[in-house]
Symmetry: C2
Subunit: 403 residues, 2 copies
Amino acid sequence: MMKNCLVAQSGGPTVAINASLAGVIAAAKQSKEIDVIYGGENGIEGILQERLINLSEKFQDEDKIRQLERTPSMFLGSCRYRMKTPEQDTTDYDKLCEILEKYQIGYFFYIGGNDSMDTVLRLSAYAKDKNLDVKIVGVPKTIDNDLECIDHTPGFGSAAKYIATSVLEMAHDTYIYNIEAVLIVEIMGRNAGWLAASSSLARMDGQPAPDIICLPEVPFSKDAFVAKVKELLKHKKHVIVAVSEGIQDEAGNYISTEGGKVDQFGHVMLCGTGMVLRDLVATEIGCKTRCVELNVLQRAASHLASKTDLEEARLLGEKAVALAVAGENGVMSTLTRVKDQPYAVTYGASDIRMIANKEKKVPRTMISEDGFDVTEEMLSYLRPLIQGEMEMKYKNGLPDYLR
Amino acid sequence: MMKNCLVAQSGGPTVAINASLAGVIAAAKQSKEIDVIYGGENGIEGILQERLINLSEKFQDEDKIRQLERTPSMFLGSCRYRMKTPEQDTTDYDKLCEILEKYQIGYFFYIGGNDSMDTVLRLSAYAKDKNLDVKIVGVPKTIDNDLECIDHTPGFGSAAKYIATSVLEMAHDTYIYNIEAVLIVEIMGRNAGWLAASSSLARMDGQPAPDIICLPEVPFSKDAFVAKVKELLKHKKHVIVAVSEGIQDEAGNYISTEGGKVDQFGHVMLCGTGMVLRDLVATEIGCKTRCVELNVLQRAASHLASKTDLEEARLLGEKAVALAVAGENGVMSTLTRVKDQPYAVTYGASDIRMIANKEKKVPRTMISEDGFDVTEEMLSYLRPLIQGEMEMKYKNGLPDYLR
């Protein structure tokens, strides 16, 4: 018997999350097990409010699915709503099960990061307890690349490509004056330094920037940092620093000026780390210095998406449909790297319990001994992920995104 | 008799300034009047130190000129050195004349903005007084688009394309949460609002962002701004504000928090305008708000260059060579718009005295009545300038720029 499916997106946006949605839609359209494809607006929060839209109708046209694939952010919207655990309160879970039954949802795909996988974990277990015939499968995404059980996450490769390109371009901008200058580039990544590390890809053909990379995995010492910058300035006029917003001192205190605030999930909100370093350079060294915060563009700049990333994101969406239809429940579609060169991956599944609420950090072997750089192991890991460019469609001089 | 030529770059970088350099090199190579092409490193400052490089040797290969055309920032480097006037001190002028004679320079091309055109003005007059046989011609560039006697400046169109694309992408990023949110995008432009105005191009296919545009040409009232945001939030959840870094209050005081500092030219340094507006929204309205400063990427992101802009920049470089060889001195190559649709321009020259030290601001007719938006006249002016994309070459996943 054919059943309907539901797909929703959650957490922070990436350039690749709509590609995963496109993959789910394309595979669900082709599946003989799936009838109507519903989209839940604003993640679990919108589903609780029964804000479901018919994606089968909206995406009859293959071209529109292709356009979706290249559109940044989240077509279905997101939420930051965190459900209580069923032990605390079952209201939301009962309501969700009621809606899943009402719309005859046999398959539910939730595209998100580690917080969203927690929702997949709890809801799949709850629905199973209630004998609801629904398979719930997670589809990975996060620019942070901090999910377990997967070689790398969709969205990360495009963010890495944007970060490396931007550092390359800003280095060109910094080199023009014949005076000492330190550029600080603040990059996202709360507890995992993958994004900041990806700035290392800017080093091509003897282009030396970034000269220093600061990751949250390494306790940050202001003295050691100032000494390192001073040392570099003895031999060169321009020093480019890539710093993760989440660096902390030995005691685990964020270097950021606004380290006190927390968001809805209890995560500490970070802002201003780059400016702290800029002020440090200005005070301790006194040369020209500037801080650039890459901010939301690193997760939204679809015009510079990695083709590898978007293709993998789409395939992980398709894989999720295959897994659900094959009867898997409480899993996330994953990819495993077979080889760096030539780059090859295989697609599979992992138990959601191994992923939810866990964070994969940069291993010490990928960080240089002095803690201010990455190793060749990191570069080999990163290089394949930014390869290839999407053929963008432009309209009146701007990328033609789906609205 | 063949003479040599010298070309140098000055002021802040743009995406198109190397295209103008490529134009000068290509035209000079073809000219029967010109022998060796010298490049002066770091503008007038490097020339005073006799740091001249042989560009004829460096750019024998046409492919390399094409690569230069697509490389951001300034291949020859820049300076912020301001010479005294000849009335104050002739040392620098005498030194420059000595170097021009020593290298048998018959033609000197200086690519820059209004400060650089001041150098062209004074030096061309001084050299003429000394009966030096050298033609000095300016080549325009500035992302600010604030030069007189030219329809628009090279570098502006690419910056406009980057700004509009980024606002479009960040709007997608803002829309995903179903909560009230105000995004403030801080855009460059000290006294002229052209760059901030170009954000209006993001409004395509019913995409409404930016909802508010604040230009330095309109005195900024905090009360009126807060009232405008509140009014918009009555009808929509997301408000996107594009603000020029240079907005000032009725009394002419910069809104920026760091409005006190001045640079070497006595220009007030601006930083933090967007953050002032963000804090204003947080305090007076209390909804979620974020500030993104586009910073140097708007003048360095060659991967998103406007084809129209780069082609015009190259042709303005070529035109400068034609003018100099034809005997013109103390002029700048210019372009005049013939038509918006189909877009057409002609190339010519303007007396440098009409350009140096002058600033072209946004006329009132291009600004909406309430001062928080632009008019259709502005959109018609802007649209042609961002058309077309360069075919970028990528290497290992990154733009292949000339180092």
